[in-house]
Amino acid sequence: MTDTPLKDLMEAVIEGKEELAAQAAGEALSIGVTAEEVLNAISAAGNKIGKMFEAGDCFLPELFAGAEAMNAAVEKVVPELEKAFVQPRGTVVIGTVEGDVHEIGKRIVCAMLSGAGYRVHDLGTDVTAEQFVAKVRELHPDIVAASAYITTTCQRLPSIASALRDAGLRDQVKYLIGGASVNNGMVAWAGADGFGENAAQAVTVVRSLIEDLKGGQR
């Protein structure tokens, strides 16, 4: 088996070329590369873009284009994963809090989580605590992730933890917060378990929270 399609795939993702990324993912699968290997390549490319962004070597337009390319490639892989019964690494329910319509960062987080092998259910923007709870009841995710962009709307973050607690669901999920008006110091105040400063860090924190959850260390 050759590494070339995976190399092409990674390059296409890093360069933000959607069509080429989807094409390279399809070619890799067609020559027998497993869906899991393709996903790992997408994830590695996503990590590389994240690191480039953190190092100041690329900017949001490149990060966004990379996220779109990841999405395009992941779409090719999902049917193969389902056929092969490959389990996702975890399930994440994500949304921007009630009263807030900002979603740029959240979209990038979604793409990077998908690329890293997580099943992501994006509830969109202006999501109430009750909507988060309803989705948790329906899907039994590992992670609930809430994003808030402005100081007024980040006041909603604690209500999500409270609503999960009131519904008796808080111990079944980990709660991650992020967004422009959120910082690490707000984790305890919001009743959350973790904070993602950016998309790359969100993926790392999700991984660690799921390990924690599955290790029963809550």
């Binding site: 949001l60 337009p61 990060l63 009263g99 402005i150």
Partner: protein
């Protein structure tokens, strides 16, 4: 809702109260601003804070919605920020990124307890650009309300305090019309359309900005947060932002004084591969003032760090005033002494020779003593600068 007659009466009381305060000062905030913008040292540092909700000041009987839709409610809160809390540059705008789009027919939602926000992007398809027309500032959307607020300022506090008016910058307006994700796609796939769109946005900005300028007798601040790094790369900035910002800055120059307005796109300078060169380029757009955000000074939230004194030198060489901004996290978290030291430290590094101001935003729920620390700190920053002050 507080009746208009009562708001008017309270604004009159606040104005009278502030007149008495100014009588006891060496300079009024307006005189301090004029000195600062002329690169001369005033008596002390000019300080200001943005208020985006009545709740920030502890006012609970004016809803956020009323604040953004009723000129009397809006002006009362701004006047209160001046007379009761010592704000030296109140804002004659609240949600500048929404105004032009709303006036062109875009939907803006006004939640009771949160700032207004746009609904779906107005320009869903590129081909729909031809259907949009330049709004009339005297009749469309809340543009007349913004002009009215500016007139009210002239009537009340205008002789003592400078209060900027504002409109959207051309790139940020294009983002508002198309959506951020879509404009990035447009830049990759159809750059000619983006240039056409930006040309249209310039015409909108200049039409509205000219109306604001003519009422206010000062050039408006162009809000250009979307053109900041990392929202755009330096390459995108140079092709799609810089030429259009320059066009608007020049077109909105005040014919009476020859001065231009501020462009609010300072953050992210530290992320540029060569920040000094990037800053010089931004200053060359002809703007009169530029922010220096705490993110870029302290490396908050993944930003880098710039040398404050060098930042000031570069800007001063092009007669661009530096407006330092403490981050809302800093105001929320405190403690007061840290806030004080940050203000004093930056003043020591960048205050010399005027051309420097201190600002922040009053976040909802921030302890009053944290804001008071900020206010006390800028009042403590006196000219000439004492090297041992901090």
């Amino acid at each position: 809702m507080i009746p208009q007659s009562e708001l008017k009466s309270r604004i009159e009381d606040l104005t009278a109260d502030f007149q008495n305060q100014v009588a006891d000062q060496v300079m009024s905030p307006l005189e301090r601003a004029i000195k600062t913008w002329s690169f001369q040292e005033p008596d002390r540092l000019l300080g200001s804070f943005a208020v985006f909700s009545p709740l920030s000041l502890g006012v609970t009987n004016i809803s956020t919605r009323e604040y953004y839709t009723d000129p009397w409610s809006f002006y009362f809160i701004q006047a209160m920020s001046v007379a009761k809390f010592g704000n030296e540059t109140p804002l004659m705008y609240g949600d500048p990124y929404n105004i032009e789009i709303e006036a062109m027919g875009g939907k803006v939602k006004f939640p009771e307890d949160s700032i207004p926000h746009l609904g779906e992007p107005l320009l869903k398809e590129a081909g729909e650009l031809g259907k949009l027309s330049i709004p009339n500032p005297r009749s469309d959307g809340r543009m007349p309300l913004m002009l009215e607020i500016s007139r009210m300022h002239k009537t009340y506090l205008g002789s003592m305090v400078f209060a900027p008016v504002s409109c959207s910058g051309p790139f940020s307006l294009a983002v508002g019309l198309r959506g951020y994700k879509q404009i990035l796609k447009d830049i990759r796939q159809d750059p000619a359309f983006v240039h056409e769109l930006l040309g249209f946005c310039c015409r909108v900005v200049i039409a509205y900005g000219s109306a604001l300028r003519d009422v206010h007798n000062a050039s408006p601040t162009l809000q250009e947060a979307w053109s900041c790094l990392p929202n755009v790369s330096p390459k995108v900035f140079h092709e799609f932002c810089l030429p259009y910002i320059s066009r608007c800055v020049e077109a909105l120059r005040n014919p009476n004084t020859g001065t231009t307005g501020t462009v609010f796109h300072g953050y992210g300078v530290s992320l540029a591969p060569d920040w000094q060169s990037f800053l010089r380029t931004v200053c060359a757009t002809g703007l009169s003032a530029i922010p220096l955000m705490e993110e870029d000074v302290s490396g908050l939230r993944g930003y880098g760090t710039v040398d404050v004194a060098e930042y000031k030198r570069i800007c001063a060489a092009q007669r661009v005033v530096v407006m330092s901004f403490l981050h809302t996290d800093t105001i929320s978290a405190g403690p007061p002494e840290r806030i004080r030291l940050l203000v004093l430290d930056m003043f020591q590094k960048a205050g010399s020779g005027g051309g420097y101001t201190a600002s922040t935003t009053w976040p909802i729920g921030a302890p009053v003593e944290h804001m008071q620390a900020f206010i006390d700190a800028f009042r403590e920053c006196r000219y000439p600068i004492n090297a041992k002050m901090a």
